[in-house]
């Protein structure tokens, strides 16, 4: 199996742990991941707020860069995934817009035929293409005893995911059940982390973050699993300030789901980017799991 890989800007710095763990996990699972050459930023939500045609053209450049060797593009970041998928859909369904985007791409010497590249989210690829059997076969450190709260956020499951329920997604829950973890079925797993509101209006953003932390905490989660850099950033980096704002004392480690998947596969924690989160995850993972096999595969 072979996929083009679109890491997205966040995975270059702020969420390097995600990138690191994605690469390590997929290598362990024997999946070939080829980083898209010279990819550019997807624009997050910011271009769509200003100019729709520029937004789609900027994104379409990435689709156009996928070479003939690949017909699937995997994106781990929520905003990147949605933007790439949405743009492909817009180009398929809006002929006037497609005409203009074609012209814009041509100005850079590029072209793209809608539908040529299938945009996939990493979770979908792992769940559907690799699947339960192959993943279970590689588990060396079952996650028994660890209570995980899968957090899906918004833009991977809504509005275009096509692989899970947009209201009450289950695929990450199921995957961590394969791995032996105690999966926490808490009600806000697809609710909003605040997105860019942390940059614009903190009180509102803090309230949204608090709701998520509180619910996971009430359900006694040991760790929250993210699959979007923005979600991880908001829940992790702002956790201290949320505590300050509300007088709470949450101390919930927030990691990427691939990091913990890597632990189950026996990859050394260092190679999975642990230690970059502000609320440290390693102590709880080591104390809940039988530490001896952590990192045993490497």
């Amino acid at each position: 199996m072979k996929y083009a890989y679109y890491p997205g800007c966040s995975l270059e710095a702020g969420s390097a742990a995600y990138d690191k763990s994605v690469r390590a996990v997929l290598e362990q699972l024997g999946v070939e991941l080829d980083e898209l050459d010279d990819w550019n930023c997807c624009g997050a939500t910011e271009y769509f707020s200003q100019n729709e045609l520029v937004a789609t053209s900027v994104i379409a450049r990435n689709l156009a860069l996928v070479d003939g060797e690949h017909d699937q593009l995997v994106a781990p970041c929520a905003a990147c995934f949605l933007n790439l998928k949405k743009t492909d859909k817009l180009l398929s369904e809006q002929p006037v817009m497609k005409g203009k985007v074609d012209e814009a791409l041509a100005a850079g010497g590029l072209s793209y035929r809608p539908g040529r590249v299938r945009v996939r989210h990493l979770l979908d690829m792992l769940y559907t293409d690799i699947g339960q059997e192959a993943i279970r076969a590689k588990v060396v450190q079952p996650l028994n005893g660890l209570r995980v709260a899968p957090y899906y956020g918004c833009q991977i499951v809504r509005p275009l995911n096509g692989f899970d329920n947009p209201e009450y997604p289950m695929k990450m829950d199921e995957m961590f059940e394969w791995l032996g973890a105690e999966v926490v079925d808490y009600p806000v797993k697809a609710h909003c982390c605040g997105g860019h509101m942390t940059q614009i209006s903190e009180p509102e953003a803090f309230e949204l973050i608090r709701r998520l932390l509180q619910s996971a905490d009430e359900y006694q989660a040991d760790v929250i699993l993210c699959m979007c850099p923005m979600c991880q950033l908001n829940l992790d980096a702002y956790q201290g300030r949320v505590n300050g704002h509300f007088g709470t004392s949450f101390k919930l480690p927030i990691v990427f789901f691939t990091q913990l998947l890597g632990v189950a596969l026996g990859i050394e924690m260092k190679k999975l980017g642990f230690g970059k989160e502000l609320v440290s995850a390693e102590p709880v993972i080591r104390s809940k799991l039988d530490g001896s096999s952590v990192g045993a595969a490497t």
Binding site: C9, E12, A13, G14, A16, D38, N40, C41, G43, A44, T45, E46, Y47, F48, S49, Q50, N51, E52, L53, V54, S57, V58, R61, L90, E93, Q94, M97, K100, V101, E103, A104, L105, A106, A107, G108, C154, Q155, R158, P159, P166, E167, H191, C192, G194, G195, H196, M197, Q199, I200, S201, E202, E204, L208, A237, G240, R241, G275, K276, E277, L278
Partner: protein, 190 residues
């Protein structure tokens, strides 16, 4: 009898919103049920709920809508879109309202347009974005007090190696700029 398409008697504002939103025609099917307003994580902070905004669009209350904070409170979580019983692309309508509000110089109540501009300026310069650049420039120019407050957190992030000081520059920045410039030229508004 087959109903004629009632294209002429709709408000100017409504026609503009439809023209600026992919699949925007669905907006005329709104039942005013409030699924959107009830679902919005920031709904309580909005001047008008998305449902009310749709009614105001139909009623041609352009000024009130475009100067409101509603669309700037939207975090693009897509709950409204996903739950709308009439398949109205409400999140996309919020994007359209943001664009119209900027274009018509009516976005006064929020720093969101400034953040958006900071972000896209960086993309046009480097081809990629990076948090430190966005945070520092945007906060320095727009919210210096807030910058002080979050500097502790920024330091922790920096210490963890999570804040890049320099962005990655893509090789074909010129190509990207050519595409952006062409797109900008082709879009009727910019």
């Amino acid at each position: 009898m087959v109903a004629d398409t009632p294209s002429d008697n709709r408000s100017k504002f409504l026609r503009d919103v439809i023209a600026d939103t992919p699949e925007g025609e669905r907006i005329v099917h709104c039942l005013q049920c409030g699924s959107c307003g009830g679902s919005c994580p920031n709904g309580a902070e909005m001047n008008y709920t998305p449902r009310a905004v749709i009614a105001m669009i139909a009623a041609d209350r352009r000024e009130e809508v475009l100067t409101s904070n509603t669309m700037w409170q939207c975090v693009s979580c897509y709950f409204c879109t996903s739950r709308c019983p009439q398949d109205i692309p409400i999140t996309e309508i919020m994007y359209a309202l943001k664009r119209m509000s900027i274009r018509e110089g009516k976005a006064r109540k929020t720093d969101a347009p400034a953040l958006a501009k900071t972000f896209t300026d960086l993309v046009e310069k480097y081809g990629r974005s990076f948090e430190f650049g966005i945070a520092s420039r945007y906060l320095l120019f727009n919210r210096p007090m807030s910058m002080l407050k979050s500097s502790g957190m920024g330091m922790s992030m920096f210490a963890k190696g999570r804040l890049a000081l320099t962005p990655t520059r893509i090789r074909q920045v010129k190509q990207l700029r050519a595409i952006i410039n062409k797109a900008r030229e082709l879009s009727q508004h910019d």
